[in-house]
């Protein structure tokens, strides 16, 4: 029986390698061939019902483009298109591809001459860098490990509100979830273990997430935005990573409660950014349209 499993494993591995060689994960040429000059084409995951994007980095980048008032069009990656680094989101501008959301922001700031999106004071810039690392590299991975650790943590992505429409409906969806569900869970758990957060228990992860939220809330204080009176890049980062706590429903809602009740300034901050820079939030979520913001303009 074990020999059969081993042979199956080898066969599966061989086939997947053949598939990867043939299909490849890299997108060699531009996706948008008829591109307009000085117009950003952003490739990101498809829309969801409760929030525009499940991926914090995609939400952060799109929010930043809206804050910076840069014209952009979203392209649905359909889970098949990835950057040369194998990541999503990535951007095409003036015939050039740029990877990694932080490098994209730096490049676009230079290209479009946006100089007022960072704090002027060196100390505030350093603090912004540190808190950006806290949200992006610590809090988000704690949440990622939590979803892999708890039962039904990843269930939202395959519901109708998430990306369920890509899996099919009814019997087909149940079949795919049965086959792919365990493989997916193993993939996510392995990633969380490799990153380091996966070794903690769910209680410890909740504690880590709450302490991080406490630190971010103390940094925000009474200010309307992290940058003071006007939003900066850090606000886009924080919104991208905190919005998922409110808008992805979890059965226990521990962290949703934390962000809305225990540290209400964070919940209010998320609502503030949403009202100011996402007027098309309801329409985007309802219609799952990649470019609802074009209609508003």
């Amino acid at each position: 029986m074990w020999i059969a499993a081993l042979l199956l494993a080898l066969l599966g591995f061989g086939l997947s390698q053949v598939y990867r060689k043939l299909h490849g994960k890299k997108t060699p040429s531009l996706l948008k061939k008829d591109w307009k000059k000085q117009h950003v084409y952003m490739v990101q995951y498809p829309r969801c019902r409760t929030l525009p994007n499940l991926s914090p980095w995609s939400l952060k980048l799109e929010t930043w483009l809206r804050i910076a008032d840069i014209p952009f069009t979203n392209i649905n990656s359909e889970f098949t298109k990835f950057s040369s680094k194998g990541q999503v989101p990535f951007v095409e501008l003036n015939g050039r591809t740029i990877d990694d959301s932080n490098f994209i922001i730096e490049a676009l700031k230079q290209e479009f001459g946006k100089t007022d999106l960072e704090p002027t004071d060196a100390k505030a810039q350093s603090a912004a860098r540190a808190f950006s690392a806290l949200a992006e590299e610590h809090l988000t991975w704690a949440l990622f490990a939590l979803r892999s650790n708890t039962k039904d943590g990843l269930a939202f992505a395959s519901t109708d509100d998430g990306w369920g429409r890509y899996i099919g409906t009814g019997l087909k969806r149940r079949f795919v979830k049965l086959i792919m569900g365990r493989a997916n869970k193993k993939l996510v758990t392995d990633r969380a273990n490799a990153q380091g957060m996966g070794r903690h228990t769910p209680d410890e992860l909740h504690h880590i997430a709450k302490e991080d939220l406490k630190a971010i809330s103390a940094f925000l204080g009474d200010k309307p935005f992290f940058g003071g009176d006007w939003p900066t890049t850090l606000d886009a980062t924080m919104f991208g990573h905190l919005a998922s706590l409110i808008y992805i429903p979890t059965p226990e809602g521990i962290l949703t409660n934390c962000i809305t009740v225990t540290y209400p300034n964070l919940g209010q901050f998320v609502e503030r950014i949403k009202e100011k820079f996402w007027p098309d939030w309801e329409e985007t979520c309802r219609t799952m349209d990649m470019n609802a913001h074009h209609k508003k303009e």
């Binding site: 599966g12 194998g86 990541q87 540190a130 690392a133 493989a183 380091g196 809330s217």
Partner: protein, 297 residues
């Protein structure tokens, strides 16, 4: 044909996962058997990597842990080990204190502060506490993974005679153990950085990221002797552990070491200050490879 191949390979891999039980990390089951059976009360037994020629401990987290124990004036005995499997979270460093085993440096520090009644960080305001948490995330989750990617081509340094080589034995057995350790470290580091995204950056991008992190640290330190003012606290041990490994790391071109010592002398002087205050036995420890050259309070 490609989609059939894809479906087939994913179905086979899913069946393989169903047959092969995924490796559960040992987080939920505390070890019944301690490694140090004849333990003394209120004495910490720190299990960490062996000494190296250039730096007492080449792993940033282990150096941070040991520096913190000296800073907090907690009596400890360091024991050299490679076996992560024996720890509760399958990670190094881990400690055994008063008959209990704990892993993960952040959790150990929090628990020992309470257990030994140390008022190390009590005088910090909530603003400073949140800032320290953000600086910890900047250093541990952004700067050090970038450094690991830079050092990934030189993993064989870790098993050379300057580092852990002498502890792995001599002769033919030693050669096999060194090759196995090298393979293990390379796989571990590569998977960890690949998940974070740092593993996909180019050399120039990584060096820039590290330099920006060092700039931020230098600005946040300012002209104070320690990060929280006149007296040292946990954040100083954290920054020292990670930046000292950067300064003494065997990078071929020494770009980063020069950046710390020459371009950002504030941080360079901070490292020297911490080294002189808390590691007066640095030279002796590195030369004799003795784990316990310190004097306990």
């Amino acid at each position: 044909a490609l989609s059939i191949l894809h479906t087939l390979s994913s179905v086979l891999s899913a069946i393989t996962c169903a047959v092969y039980r995924e490796k559960k990390s040992k987080q939920h089951f505390p070890r019944m058997l301690l490694l140090k059976r004849d333990w003394t009360r209120n004495h910490v037994y720190l299990f960490t990597y062996p000494r190296c020629r250039r730096i007492p401990n080449i792993s940033p987290w282990s150096l941070k842990m040991e520096t913190w124990l000296r800073l907090a004036r907690i009596p400890y005995t360091a024991i050299a080990t490679f076996s992560k499997g024996k720890s509760i979270k399958s990670s190094l460093p881990f400690v055994e204190v008063n008959g209990r085993q704990m892993a993960d440096s952040a959790i150990i520090i929090e628990t020992l502060k309470v257990e030994f009644g140390k008022s190390l960080d009590h005088s910090l305001s909530s603003d400073e506490v949140s800032r320290c948490r953000a600086i910890t995330a900047l250093v541990e989750e952004q700067m050090t993974p970038c450094l690991m990617v830079l050092l990934l081509p030189d993993v064989e340094y870790l098993v050379s005679d300057e580092a852990w080589g002498p502890h792995l034995g001599r002769g033919l057995t030693g050669w096999f153990r060194r090759r196995r350790m090298e393979r293990r470290m390379r796989r571990q580091i590569a998977s960890s950085v690949d998940i974070r995204g740092a593993g996909r950056h180019s050399y120039a991008e990584l060096t820039d990221l590290i330099k920006e992190a060092l700039d931020a640290l230098s600005t946040l330190l300012g002209d104070r002797p320690y990060f929280t003012g006149a007296s040292s606290s946990t954040i100083d041990a954290t920054v020292f552990g990670h930046v000292a490994c950067l300064v003494y790391a065997p990078t071929p071109d020494g770009v980063l070491t020069d950046y710390v010592r020459i371009t950002r002398p504030t941080i360079g002087k901070f490292i020297e200050r911490m080294k002189e205050t808390f590691w007066p036995d640095w030279e002796e420890a590195c030369r004799t490879r003795n784990m316990n050259t310190h004097r306990n309070p």
